[in-house]
């Protein structure tokens, strides 16, 4: 049971269309973000007012914005921002939510009850609205956006981890481990966690795409990262009043968000099909 699903999964993965397409799109976005550290077609901090609002051309593939900045360069650097915010907020959710969920499953009783009710409390708030509230109180900026989005990832991972762990605890191999005298903490780390890892990976992919959307939403209302750091959400906001003059300003950051989120969702779907042992048996 603790054996890796990969050798068998590999061929299955290559045959899974949504996994392949999702991985390709996500890979391209990731490469774009990494590339932007060393190279962008134009520097994003430099303005060229005389060359503003130019439609796509050979010199500016995606056109220029209202300050004459190259939109392709902005999208490349902006992807860094989106990925960083989404990544760290997922990491926060994993790092805090998973131990809480595992703890609740291992101990049961009033601890389980308390943790899950606290979870429900956080869950009950609409995530994006509360994120707006948090950034409004503590000030706009990328760090606060990460914290705000991260907080709402905690209960998601706590639930997934608890649910999956609870279904494992009555199983024979866990009983066996207990019979050998292993403690709850050791069993959790050695036996429970490896067996729910695939579920967590799938959930992380989905939360990652939600994180990208949330970051875009917060920047759109001016609460995400601040200029001059480009961000997709703010690019959309700035394009809003220029839509009649320069539709490309809204089109490309919008497409960037749609494609990235689509890619991550396909990847998540594909991963679930590939990794879920139950599905594997049923097919």
């Amino acid at each position: 049971m603790t054996a890796s699903p990969w050798p068998e999964g590999m061929s299955k993965a290559i045959g899974n269309r949504s996994f392949v397409v999702g991985l390709t799109i996500t890979g391209i976005v990731a490469i774009m973000a990494v590339l932007s550290f060393v190279w962008t077609p134009y520097a994003v901090g430099t303005l060229d007012i005389a060359g503003k609002l130019k439609p796509p051309s050979w010199s500016h593939w995606l056109g220029t914005d209202h300050y004459g900045r190259d939109i392709l360069s902005m999208i490349m650097v902006g992807s860094r921002n989106s990925i960083a915010v989404a990544f760290v907020s997922v990491a926060i959710g994993l790092a805090i939510g998973v131990p809480l969920g595992l703890w609740a499953a291992a101990r049961g009783g009033w601890i389980d009850e308390l943790l899950m009710r606290l979870n429900d409390l956080v869950f009950a708030f609409p995530a994006l609205l509360s994120a707006v509230m948090i950034t409004a109180v503590f000030g706009p900026g990328a760090i606060n956006a990460i914290i705000a989005i991260g907080i709402f990832n905690i209960p998601v991972f706590a639930r997934v981890a608890r649910g999956a762990a609870l279904s494992l605890w009555p199983r024979e191999f866990i009983l066996g481990a207990r019979a050998c005298g292993k403690g709850a903490a050791r069993i959790t780390i050695e036996h429970v966690l490896p067996n729910i890892a695939n579920l967590l990976v799938v959930q992380a992919t989905i939360q990652f795409s939600l994180g990208i959307l949330a970051e875009a939403g917060l920047s759109y209302v001016g609460l995400g990262s601040q200029p001059p750091m480009p961000s997709w959400g703010r690019m959309l906001f700035e394009a809003q009043t220029m839509i009649g003059l320069a539709p490309h300003m809204a089109l490309f950051p919008g497409l960037a968000i749609v494609i990235t989120v689509l890619g991550l969702n396909l990847l998540g779907d594909g991963l679930r099909d590939v990794l879920d042992p139950r599905l594997r048996r049923e097919r």
């Binding site: 303005l47 007012i49 601040q226 200029p227 009043t241 220029m242 009649g244």
Partner: protein
């Protein structure tokens, strides 16, 4: 049902009903405004949004400012000035009534002026009344105002929104339910949405041509554009979306009127806080800014560059922009001389208007080019007023000062610039005591030169008045000589 179908149906119904009668001219108007006023008593607040609703519509003063910035008679039908230049005798209009039915007479004038300059006055512009020594009631229709010294500005000052005449019976409640003498009376205020005023049938002077006017609060530029295009709002006297103006210009249904305002847009600097206490640093910042790029980028070409704190349409204006011309190399050299060869880190606090937010992004980029790293901090208006304006907790900020004749703010003690130049203060005192036009012009020019040399702030551009309204509307002001939307002569063309 979509709007078109709806209006077509309504139109058809109306046509049936009134097919024999001629259509009466339309008599209602919805105006868009960007900011909601905190309250609507012009004698108790500095917010331009107050005057933009009540000035000349609800409240009137002894005099009023006309569309060209000229002084016109209002509640005072005429006045005489004594030979020593210190005593004004105002003859008041008769049969004037406040909106609540109480009558207006010389006692109300004395009450209003004494209240505005009294010790517990909450007037935002007490300086307007500083020259007044005594106010005497001669008879119910005559008031005598004696000044401490002759003042060239007095009649103009009495035309400000802050100097309107209020009644003792209603002075306390004007913030929520303003009672004035004007051609319109206050109707209702739905907070966050709109303020409605309607025609005052008992008005003493030429009656208003509109029956009802609604000021709808629309802070978002994109929503402002949509509201105008949909016809929900028929006039935006100060339209906030500069980039869509070209679109309205090309549309025959709309009229676009680009006028001037008294708004000097500046990059304010905290003159007492290092490194801004160093003249060379302030000069370096001024030289790092390309005004043309700023106007093109932030304002879509609308706006006139200024080199000092004075509006270009004023007869005493001199163009001093060359004194702080765009010159990054000179800027770097000045920074090095000031002991900051590698620049420094600072913050730039920006209030919500488009000119500030966009201008800030451009200026921050230009400052980066000379080595100054300015972190942008966006603020809401209330935060800006508290942090920057009141507590002077800032390095740099961008704001437009839209009051007329406001050169004297650089002479104020404890103003947010923290600028303190005794020579300039003396000059402002002299200007206030001078009534000879030629001499005043000379003094105004000297004052402009001092500011251009001292660079207490970087002077950017004069804010344009970007009016967009339905082509069939007549009578709205082209320029903004004072914060106002005077609706007294506004009507729909037949």
């Amino acid at each position: 049902m979509n709007n078109f179908a709806k209006s077509a149906l309504v139109g058809a119904a109306l046509a049936l009903l009134t097919s024999s009668a001629a259509f009466a001219a339309r008599a209602d108007l919805v105006l868009g405004i960007v900011l909601e006023p905190p309250h609507i008593d012009p004698t108790a607040g500095a917010a331009a949004a107050i005057d933009e609703i009540v000035y000349a519509n609800i409240f009137e003063g002894l005099t009023r400012i006309g569309p060209k910035g000229e002084v016109l008679p209002a509640l005072a039908e005429s006045w005489t000035l004594s030979d020593d230049g210190k005593t004004y005798t105002f003859k008041l209009h008769k049969d004037v009534k406040f909106h609540d039915g109480t009558s207006f007479d010389a006692e109300d004038v004395k009450f209003s002026l004494d209240r505005a300059r009294g010790g517990d006055s909450t007037n935002a512009q007490k300086g307007l009344f500083a020259a007044i020594d005594t106010v005497e009631v001669v008879d119910p229709l005559t008031v005598k105002v004696t000044l401490k010294q002759p003042s060239g500005d007095f009649l103009y000052n009495m035309g400000w929104g802050d100097a309107v005449i209020v009644a003792p019976e209603s002075a306390q409640t004007n913030k929520e339910k303003p009672i004035g003498t004007g051609p319109f009376k206050f109707d209702s205020w739905a907070k966050g949405s709109q303020i409605v005023i309607s025609k005052n049938a008992a008005y003493w002077g030429k009656p208003a041509l509109l029956d009802k006017a609604t000021f709808r609060i629309i802070p978002d530029p994109a929503a402002a554009t949509a509201a105008l295009l949909a016809g929900d709002v028929q006039a935006f006297p100060v339209f906030p979306s500069y980039e869509t103006i070209a679109q309205f210009e090309a549309d025959p249904r709309f009229k676009v009127v680009i006028g001037t305002t008294e708004g000097e847009t500046i990059l304010g600097m905290n003159n007492k806080k290092p490194p801004f206490d160093n003249l060379k640093v302030r000069q370096a910042i001024a030289h790092a800014i390309d005004r043309k790029a700023l106007i093109d980028g932030a304002m879509f070409g609308l706006g006139t560059p200024i080199g000092s704190f004075f509006p270009p349409h004023h007869p005493a204006y001199i163009d001093l922009t060359s004194q702080t011309a765009f010159d990054p190399e000179l800027s770097k050299k000045l920074l090095a001389e000031a002991g900051h060869p590698d620049g420094f880190k600072t913050t730039l606090k920006l209030p919500p208007p488009t000119y500030a937010r966009r201008g800030g992004e451009i200026i921050a980029a230009e400052l980066r080019d000379v080595g100054i790293q300015a972190e942008i901090v966006p603020l809401e208006w209330a935060q800006w007023l508290d942090q920057v304006f009141k507590n002077k907790d800032y390095d740099m900020t961008i704001v437009s000062h839209t009051e007329p004749n406001d050169l004297n703010i650089f002479a104020r003690d404890d103003y947010y610039f923290n600028y303190d130049n005794p020579a300039f203060k003396d000059l402002i005192k002299q200007i206030e005591a001078t009534s000879d036009d030629a001499k005043r012009t000379e003094l105004y020019q000297e004052a402009q030169k001092i500011l251009a040399t001292d660079v207490p702030a970087a002077f950017l551009f004069q804010l344009p008045k970007t009016g967009v309204w339905d082509a069939k509307i007549e009578g709205l002001w082209e320029n903004g000589p004072i914060q106002a939307n005077d609706l007294t002569a506004v009507k729909w063309a037949d």
